[in-house]
């Protein structure tokens, strides 16, 4: 089994929103960045992957098994860091660590201690006294202590300062030194995804707009501008799909960023 997870034609509907026909997978050894505007379906996709929601139709396989058969076995090997994830805020770091550790068969306390020390997280501190950045770093440390094969993070870097974000990037790339592991993280910060993701999935209005390796996506789009002197008017710049791009005489094109690609896809979806 080369993929840590596979979603095949997954549908899930709610009263005011539905996720339509999502097919997505992630090979071991890589990071998948899940991009999209707020409310596009990123969190729903992640909840489906964790079996916090069940799909209306379609198939979900995680670490080679399905939740119907081996939910707790799968969850032994998943680490999860939620957006605004709250443990019981009146408990101390030590208490929480001790509580969580009892659920897992594997527990690397030494590694966890190192991480807590590195991040300056004092063991006797109550969780409600941690800053937002510290909370996320604590959650990630905790999620890595049972040495998961798949780490899932929902908006881990949103609202954090650049230093904390850098620290998180380092933790993720460190985990990937083991090529059997894989990471999925959702973000609306395209910069973070562009920097460290190997695969990128873009979800817009409940649909998968794009899913490929980051290199292929960046190759697939160009930022095009046509100088006025050529007499053609095509606006100032636009993002164009490389395949449909015929070379205009005098046309300038340069690499587009993920942000620019995302914005152009969102505009297209709204048209």
């Amino acid at each position: 089994m080369n993929n840590v997870f596979e979603l095949r034609n997954v549908y899930k509907s709610f009263n005011d929103f539905h996720l339509e026909d999502i097919s997505l997978h992630l090979p071991r050894g890589y990071i998948l960045g899940l991009l999209g505007p707020n409310g596009a379906g990123k969190s729903t996709t992640i909840k489906l992957l964790l079996n916090l929601l069940e799909p209306d139709s379609g198939e979900i396989q995680v670490l080679g098994s399905s939740y119907a058969h081996s939910e707790t076995l799968i969850k032994q090997k998943i680490g999860y860091v939620g957006e605004n994830q709250n443990f019981y805020q009146d408990l101390t770091i030590d208490w929480t660590v001790n509580f969580i550790s009892r659920f897992y068969r594997t527990w690397n306390q030494e590694k966890l201690n190192d991480m807590l020390t590195n991040f300056g997280l004092k063991r006797q501190k109550q969780l409600k006294d941690l800053s937002k950045g510290q909370k996320v770093l604590f959650n990630i440390s905790l999620a890595l202590a049972h040495e998961p094969e798949l780490l899932i993070l929902d908006e881990p870097t949103s609202g954090l300062d650049p230093i904390a974000r850098k620290e998180i990037m380092d933790i993720l790339l460190d985990m990937l030194q083991d090529e059997n592991k894989a990471i999925l993280f959702s973000s609306h910060i395209t910069e973070d995804v562009e920097q460290i993701a190997d695969y990128v999935a873009i979800i817009i209005k409940g649909r998968l707009a794009l899913f490929d390796t980051k290199e292929a996506i960046l190759d697939g789009f160009r930022k095009v501008s046509i100088p006025k002197s050529t007499g053609k008017t095509l606006g100032s710049t636009l993002i164009a799909n490389t395949q449909t791009l015929s070379e205009y005489k005098g046309m300038h094109s340069q690499p587009a960023s993920l942000e620019e690609i995302l914005i152009s896809l969102v505009k297209e979806a709204n048209r």
Binding site: L52, L53, E71, Y80, G82, N86, F87, Y88, F103
Partner: protein, 201 residues
């Protein structure tokens, strides 16, 4: 399972201590004794469900390698534990203070049985509607069904005597009542597991 129970006991430790203290004072008026078993159980379960709701505890716990049934079963075990603890506490204090002359053992056990069923229902409501709404509904139901007649009875004089008479008439079958209440509690738990699974999907 044990660590889930331990976590709940730890998070509600202040509530438990407070009720035990109030319970001690209530023992000096045997007619007030029965409400202690009920209120400590209600207090602890309501507190634990509100805590889970406040910190999205069930979402967090569901991402851990523990089944949804186990999460629900642990709460029902917590209820059972508190009822058992409160009943034993009441019996010991009654033996010590009133030498069991103020209130019949069967009455205490009967109240324990009723408490179990009623609080099993509270848990079911909170898996169906979430803790805050469940507690509101629960209060309305309990007030109209149990407390109002009971308070009326007290205000009409002869505090507790009729209850004691009623309970002693059931004395022979108190074991049957306990067993039946445990069965009902178990059934409520099974329905709750189902409700919780639906709610989390």
């Amino acid at each position: 399972m044990i660590h889930l129970l331990y976590k709940d006991l730890y998070l509600t430790r202040k509530t438990i201590l407070l009720y035990l203290l109030i319970g001690l004072l209530l023992q000096f008026n045997p007619s007030m004794t029965p409400i202690f078993i009920f209120f400590i159980t209600y207090g602890v379960l309501a507190k634990t469900e509100l805590t889970e709701e406040k910190y999205e505890g069930y979402t967090l716990l569901s991402t851990l390698p523990v089944s949804k049934s186990t999460l629900v079963i642990s709460k029902y075990l917590l209820g059972l534990l508190i009822v058992g603890l409160a009943t034993t506490y009441t019996l010991i204090l009654q033996l010590w203070i009133n030498n069991l002359s103020g209130i019949a053992v069967s009455t205490i056990l009967g109240i324990a049985a009723a408490t179990l069923i009623v609080n099993g229902f509270l848990l079911l409501l909170s898996y169906k509607y979430g803790a805050t709404r469940a507690i509101t509904y629960f209060r309305i139901i309990v007030l109209s069904l149990f407390l109002i007649p009971w308070l009326l009875q007290i205000s009409l004089g002869l505090p507790g005597e009729e209850l004691i008479l009623w309970a002693s008439s059931l004395q022979a079958s108190v074991m049957t009542i306990l067993i039946l209440s445990l069965i009902a509690y178990g059934v409520l738990m099974l329905i709750s597991i189902n409700t919780f699974k639906k709610r989390m999907s």
